[in-house]
Amino acid sequence: MNKMEKALHELGEMDDLAARSSPIHDMSATAKLLTTIAYIVTVVSFDKYDLSGLIPLVLWPVLLFQLGGIPVRTCFYKLRIVLPLVMAVGLFNPIFDRAPLLFLGSVAVSGGVVSMLTLMLKGVLCLMASFLLMATTPIDCLCASLRTLRVPKTLVTLLLLTYRYVGVMTEELAIMTDAYHLRAPGQKGIHVSAWGSFLGQLLLRSMDRAQELYASMLLRGYHEHFHYAPVKPFTAKDAAYLAVCLGVFALLRFVPVAALLGGALVR
């Protein structure tokens, strides 16, 4: 399976997950989008040394994974993209921030180590939040929700159209790449002599195809207005979900819940 086929597989997998049914899937896309943004803002707003304050926020994605019946494995597979960059930045912290921040018995733990762990946890939690949004919300519903949030029509229509054509183009390029490698066995990538023509040919065909596409859209009654998925009304249930989530995030942000829980147990 080449890189493009893997990407297609990932796209298909996300579509399948989003098409399932669960209490989270049935929620309004607007409520889910707003809670996801609020969650991410809460996570990243924690101080770089506040690892213990951040930990209770793990509960929200865990709860959503369970309620939505989403496999965690699929999400962790996506960490391969996020974690290297976060780690590349975070790994310098233990080197440059050596001031002892705490002691594990007689072993001093530097601020750099704590801030590195905090950064990594933030990276994982933010990824989980975005992943859960897309794994429980079909793209059509998300686009419809973006329109209700007054995101410009041009941008939303472009997002929806591009998403549809990403699959077509990726499949086309996957076939082309396979065909190229079958004719050039043992070669790792595209040879310099074909750098221009390989993508260029498809580009030219695609630009023409775009004009045909526009003609077909006009024939089907397109008049600068795109019909999105039927918008799920923002019900009292969605409002309650949003309010509870925002309240819990605020609570976890400003009250050291982990410390208080632990304190109650230690006493």
């Binding site: 990407a7 990932e10 796209l11 943004i37 803002v41 990243v44 707003s45 930990i55 509960l59 994974f65 976060v86 930045v89 080197i95 440059f96 050596r98 001031a99 002892p100 921040l101 705490l102 594990l104 801030s115 950064l119 990594m120 933030k122 975005s130 992943f131 949004l133 410009p152 041009t154 472009l158 997002l159 159209l161 591009t162 998403y163 183009m169 086309e172 390029l173 070669q187 790792k188 990538g189 040879h191 310099v192 221009g196 390989f198 993508l199 260029g200 040919q201 498809l202 580009l203 030219l204 695609s206 775009a210 004009q211 526009y214 410390a259 829980l261 632990g262 304190g263 230690v266 006493r267």
Partner: protein, 350 residues
Amino acid sequence: MHMADALLAPAVAATMYVASGTVAGISIHQLKKDDEPQKLPTMAVTAALVFAGQMINYTIPGTGSSGHMCGGMLLSALLGPQAGFLSMIVILAIQCLFFADGGLMALGANIWNMAFYGCFVGYYLIWRPIVRSHWFGEGKAALRGRIIAASIIGCIVTLQFGAFSVVLETSLSGITELPFGAFVALMQPIHLAIGLVEGLITAAVLTFVFESRPELLRDVEAEAGALPAKRSLKAVIAILAVLALVVGGGLSLLASSNPDGLEWALFGNAEEGYAENMGLDEDDFGLSSKAADTAGSIQESTSFLPDYAFADNDTPVGTTVSGIVGSAMVAGVALLICLAGGFFRKKKHS
């Protein structure tokens, strides 16, 4: 260069959203003014192609590695800066939402770092002036040369701007202890090499389009009509030089006004005696410095396991132990939720 959410502070992310949103708004307004409804499907198909095309590995001759195409320059050369910018936004959004490549909160910053520089700086300051200039003389071969030059210079310059912005945004967010200067020194040369490779690949694709269908390229038609260049190459170089000075000047000011992380960690600060502490005497560099006091206060307020002692809960030690125990309890609750979820699902299926 895709930034993750964890690398940005909310204030920086919001600022970048506002900046990118403003440019997007202007671009949409411009597109509406141009009144070309047929452009939307072209933008979508081209954006989808660029998205897929960025997954192709191009073998770099003489090395074992491969490179990718630069989307911003390619899209602005084909669609124009405004349409290219909007297409790049959509590509970045899909990469972020479906492939976890870049964060949702960091999307504004990623749009700025990759789409804004690639499309607007790349087009207005590099592509258009170079393609319309009289560089390499007249005729088709000269025009081909200018397209290649614009692609390579465009990719290098826009990637340098993008990489510098990544450093600036991360540093302003207070995420990394890596000194600003060292971070810049790490990022810029890497992206210089990446920019060169991406420039060559983009040049190859655009040259192919030029050979087959020159009318698809922006400003090439203008060249065919022998329109005078709006801005001379000298003016372009002058603008780029001024930009470089501004960026370089800002960089040195920032670098010199803030003691870097290594100085902070080892020697406190300049007032505490930089030279005296070079011997790394533990007592000197640690306890009496302002930085150590700051670290101490941070430790008191946010410490995580300073000792194993189960002290009074009001002390920092007690608080820390409580934090660990509380975290363990959270983990326990998480485990319970997982087990309960699994149990109910099994029950539902059976």
